[in-house]
């Protein structure tokens, strides 16, 4: 009798978990991956929205010269060689708009290369 009750209870729990998957305990989520292309003198995309506390991997791809991407306030700085790809993982720990700049001098428009991160709750 007791065993039947336990089995029914487990069955109900499995069904509930199937109907409401959001209620089941989540496994550790993998970092969100975002590809960013750098070329003279722009980043694409030029704006990205992130969630505070959510780990992210920025994959920086250069299509011409060496470039970099630095967010001073977030302590993020990544550099990529000409035509290369590199990545950096970080977790934004504060909300706000943060403007990243190319951190490797790449020519006359270098100072205009910017990418804005919107970090929201």
């Amino acid at each position: 009798m007791k065993t039947r009750v336990i089995r029914r209870g487990m069955l109900v729990a499995i069904m509930v978990a199937g109907i409401f998957p959001g209620c089941a305990p989540k496994a550790q989520s993998s970092p969100r991956r975002i590809e960013v292309t750098a070329r003279r003198f722009e980043f694409a995309p030029a704006e990205i929205t992130l969630k505070k506390g959510q780990p992210v991997v920025l994959e920086l791809k250069s299509t011409d010269a060496a470039h970099g991407l630095r967010f001073r306030e977030l302590n993020v700085n990544v550099k990529v060689g000409a035509g290369g790809t590199t990545e950096v993982q970080f977790t934004p720990d504060k909300t706000g708009d943060f403007i990243g700049h190319c951190s490797v001098f790449c020519g006359s428009g270098h100072g205009t290369m910017a990418l804005t991160l919107h970090v929201v709750d």
């Binding site: 630095r70 700049h101 190319c102 001098f105 006359s108 428009g109 270098h110 100072g111 205009t112």
Partner: protein, 125 residues
């Protein structure tokens, strides 16, 4: 002329440097300076190794001079953004980011001793 430059022509006197003056910012400024400014000012900001420094008019000033150091941080940023006409000093707005320009000003306030950084690579035989 110097008085006029300091009080009339060069604007932005009251703007403060948003970056902290520390070793990290100084190193950032030195790197940015080495990309864009060394051709005329040398690695040390004192024209070391610049072959034409004494042969143009007006001559390239030593960045440690009282005339240059007498500008406020905001005025130095204005000069870096806009240049000084008709001298050979070009504006670099767009060529360097605001972040880099402010870090250069931290470097300018603490320039290394004259000659200590050697000659810019472009002038080495």
């Amino acid at each position: 002329m110097t008085f006029a430059k300091h009080t009339v022509f060069i604007r932005n006197k009251s703007q403060a440097n948003p970056l902290p003056s520390n070793a990290t910012t100084w190193a950032d400024g030195k790197e940015a300076f080495s990309h864009y400014c060394v051709a005329c000012h040398g690695l040390d900001g004192q024209n070391t190794g610049v072959p034409f420094a004494d042969h143009i008019s007006p001559p390239i000033p030593l960045l440690t001079s009282k005339d240059v150091q007498g500008y406020s941080d905001g005025q130095l940023k204005w000069i870096l953004d806009n240049g000084i006409s008709p001298s050979g000093m070009p504006g670099s707005k767009g060529t360097l980011s605001d972040d880099e320009l402010w870090s250069i000003i931290v470097y300018l306030r603490h320039l290394p001793p004259a000659g200590s950084q050697g000659t810019p690579e472009m002038y080495n035989p």
